[in-house]
């Protein structure tokens, strides 16, 4: 059993952690929880992802699904991770929670510092405890994460019993509270129902109840409303917004829908071909993007707030093959602003301070002295 690794933070407060912490026991769990007191939280980030790389080892070659991804998340903050299918946004989230199927996947490099603990150093058992207790998950299709053979009440109270050590009765009462909180009518009567007896929107509410059962510090919501109607999406998003505000839960919202990110997130990171290509405050990303891919994503879709007319400006071509990608700009082949340098060297994420606080982009053309206005 390896104790959780101590990490230096900017202020060094984490260095005051006791030497040995047994996180595999409930006592250890509670101890870890106590350690992260408010004062300490103010001085550091909830989550620091550093150079995270997750590869898939396939017969066709090594797929660089997530390639040196770095970002931070504050306590209580909502970050949007935006991009198209295959860009690595879901694999990033799965890597943070150590849920990548291995094989074929493997986290090959990086650090994931969650509330002072490097998750990549934890044992499987320690990670399992932390996942339900401190990191909640909501996936696109609730049917794949709910157990179809177990009653909904059991699935909700299981989490409360395992992680909070509640008695059977207390956990059942908590399940009723949670179902009511996520807006399921007559929660007491519905505890005994199976997942298939709920509609798509109601199932997603059940998932939210399970994810928030232990009031986690971080909620990872992976396309939580993609399978739902727009009216139900609005209900679910409103619910997520009010509950996460109430519990001060930080959220990573993974979505392909820029509109959803615009309404929910304080900051947005855009992913393309395994890389984060732009990150910044939500207004800066939408109003003055510094990466042509972000601009193209915004322009390629019809919008209700823009009068229709003419052809849509689409992004021609396809994302590159992520098997041993070339060290060039990965968007260059589809970029209307491409110049020779884009095909020769890959740009780094560099700050764009004149375009907003914390704004950074991976683009030669918008570097100081670049050619994109």
């Amino acid at each position: 059993m390896t104790p959780p690794t101590r990490r230096e933070t900017e202020t060094g407060t984490a260095a005051q952690l006791p030497e040995m912490v047994e996180v595999s026991t409930p006592e250890g769990q509670r101890l870890v929880a106590q350690l992260t007191d408010e004062a300490e939280r103010h001085s550091r980030k909830l989550l620091q992802v550093r150079d995270l790389s997750t590869y898939f080892f396939t017969p066709g070659g090594v797929v660089h699904a997530v390639d040196e991804v770095s970002f931070d998340l504050d306590y209580g903050e909502t970050l949007g991770l935006v991009g198209e299918s295959g860009c690595g946004k879901s694999v990033t989230a799965l890597s943070i929670a150590r849920l990548v199927a291995q094989p074929p996947g493997r986290i090959v490099d990086g650090e994931v510092i969650f509330d002072g603990i490097d998750l990549l150093e934890l044992s499987g058992e320690e990670m399992r405890l932390l996942r339900g207790r401190k990191i909640g998950f909501i996936f696109q299709d609730p049917m794949t994460s709910l157990n179809p053979t177990l009653r909904v009440g059991h699935q909700i109270s299981e989490s409360a019993r395992t992680h909070l050590g509640l008695s059977r009765q207390a956990a059942a009462a908590r399940a009723v509270d949670l179902l009511g909180m996520v807006g399921i009518p007559r929660p007491r009567e519905r505890l005994g129902d199976y997942p298939h007896q709920f509609s798509g929107g109601m199932r997603q509410r059940v998932m939210i109840a399970i994810a928030l059962a232990c009031q986690p510090m971080l909620l990872i919501a992976d396309e939580p409303t993609t399978a739902l109607d727009v009216t139900v999406q609005a209900q679910i998003m409103e619910l997520l917004r009010s509950l996460t505000q109430e519990f001060r839960t930080a959220v990573i919202l993974i979505t392909h829908d820029l509109g959803l990110a615009a309404g929910m997130c304080q900051r947005v990171s855009v992913m393309y071909a395994g890389r984060i290509v732009e990150t910044g405050l939500v207004d800066d990303i939408f109003e003055r993007p510094r990466m042509p891919y972000t601009r193209a994503l915004l322009d390629s879709r019809p919008r209700l707030d823009v009068e229709p007319g003419g052809r849509l400006r689409t992004i021609e071509g396809f994302p590159p093959d992520l098997v041993d990608p070339e060290p060039v700009c990965r968007f260059a082949a589809r970029c209307p602003h491409r110049r020779d340098v884009c095909d020769q060297r890959e740009p780094l994420m560099t700050p764009r301070p004149s375009h907003g606080q914390g704004h950074a982009a991976r683009c030669w053309g918008t570097e100081p002295g670049g050619w994109i206005p």
């Binding site: 109607d229 409103e238 829908d257 390629s300």
Partner: protein, 350 residues
């Protein structure tokens, strides 16, 4: 298109169209009731026009689209294509008419036979309708692939070798193979990635102009529907609750449901999102086997609540009536709904 009269008859006309599915139960499979998927829809589509159809899943929009080309048998009402009653046609006549109407499906993965080459997929309708053979057929297939923006050299490849967007193009090429006049586009872009959706929308718009096509464009993406449609219809629980020119329906929606739908659509502008007043519909769509009495929408209607639950909403089913220039809505209080500011997205001030 053969005689002078044709220009006056709408290409597609549905009158009181019903598609009810029986609910059977027990060992004897007795009918216990019926799901009223489409429940009395009257709609006409002019030549060269694109009519968009929006609504939540289960509202009957796909079933309506299929019934218009008789891929689903209607259980009541009539459907006319170019003036001819589809339900009264003999199988031979129907087959002849089928050539003129086609459908593009949502799922570019499930709607193409994985064991057939792209060439064979696109050639199949040409063979079925005996339109060409031999070298002429092969040339036609290449021409179709070129038309939808695919490399004509792809004929020997299989569907799995293509991306979602390319597969949807193959589906479009197959639909175009028989030179149809009317195409039902059933959620043609919803399974595609954001950047690819725009490509397919552009393609459909180009083809419409080049080939003078008429579309019924079914989608739940309200912005995409506005982009491509001349008129838009809104469905709720098997009925059309509002229809009119897109510019009017989006700028001044007259049905509270249309307003609620619009208000739920996220807009990619954080400033607009922050100040938007959203009407959030409560609960789920009721079962189409047992729609609420009176106005079907009253159980979720924000205006009904706001007006103090008027009795007529619960007891009298509202008719689709004129509320503006060619705009019709099925709401007793459409004029009040129209004056509200709920749901309408103001374009961002420059």
């Amino acid at each position: 298109m053969t005689d002078g009269r044709a220009g006056e008859v709408p290409l597609v006309e549905a009158d009181g169209l019903e598609v009810h599915f029986p609910i059977l139960s027990g060992i004897l499979q007795r009918q216990r009731g019926s799901v009223r998927a489409v429940d009395g829809v009257t709609l006409s589509i002019e030549r060269g026009e694109t009519v968009g159809l929006v609504g939540e899943s289960g509202c009957g929009k796909s079933t309506l689209g299929r019934a218009l080309i008789r891929l689903r048998e209607a259980t009541g009402g009539t459907v006319r294509f170019d003036g001819r009653d589809l339900r009264a046609l003999s199988p031979v006549e129907l087959r002849r008419l089928r050539r003129r109407m086609q459908i593009i499906f949502q799922d570019p993965y499930g709607s193409l036979d994985p064991r057939m080459t792209v060439g064979a997929i696109v050639a199949e309708p040409i063979e079925t309708h005996r339109l060409a053979s031999g070298r002429a057929k092969a040339e036609r297939v290449r021409e179709l692939l070129r038309l939808v923006g695919l490399d004509p050299g792809f004929t020997a490849r299989y569907p799995h070798e293509f991306s979602g967007g390319q597969r949807q193009r193959i589906g479009v090429a197959r639909a175009l193979a028989v030179e149809p006049e009317f195409i039902v586009c059933d959620e043609p872009i919803s399974a595609l990635d954001v950047s690819i959706q725009g490509q397919v929308l552009n393609l459909l718009i180009d083809l419409r102009r080049e080939l003078r096509l008429t579309y019924l464009f079914i989608a739940h993406d309200l912005a995409a529907v506005r982009h491509i449609s001349d008129r838009v219809g809104v469905m709720y629980l098997g009925t059309l609750v509002e229809i009119g020119r897109s510019s009017l329906v989006y700028a001044s929606p007259a049905h509270p449901y249309t307003r609620a739908l619009l208000s739920a659509v996220p807009v990619a502008d954080p400033a607009i999102e922050r100040q938007r007043r959203r009407v959030i519909l409560v609960g789920d769509v009721p079962s189409p086997a047992d729609p609420p009495p009176g106005c079907r929408f009253h159980t979720r209607c924000w205006l009904y609540e706001r007006l103090g639950r008027p009795e007529d909403c619960r007891t009298v089913e509202p008719e689709l009536r004129a509320v503006g220039d060619g705009q019709r809505a099925a709401c007793h209080y459409a004029e009040i709904a129209q004056k509200s500011d709920v749901g309408v997205v103001e374009p961002a001030s420059a």
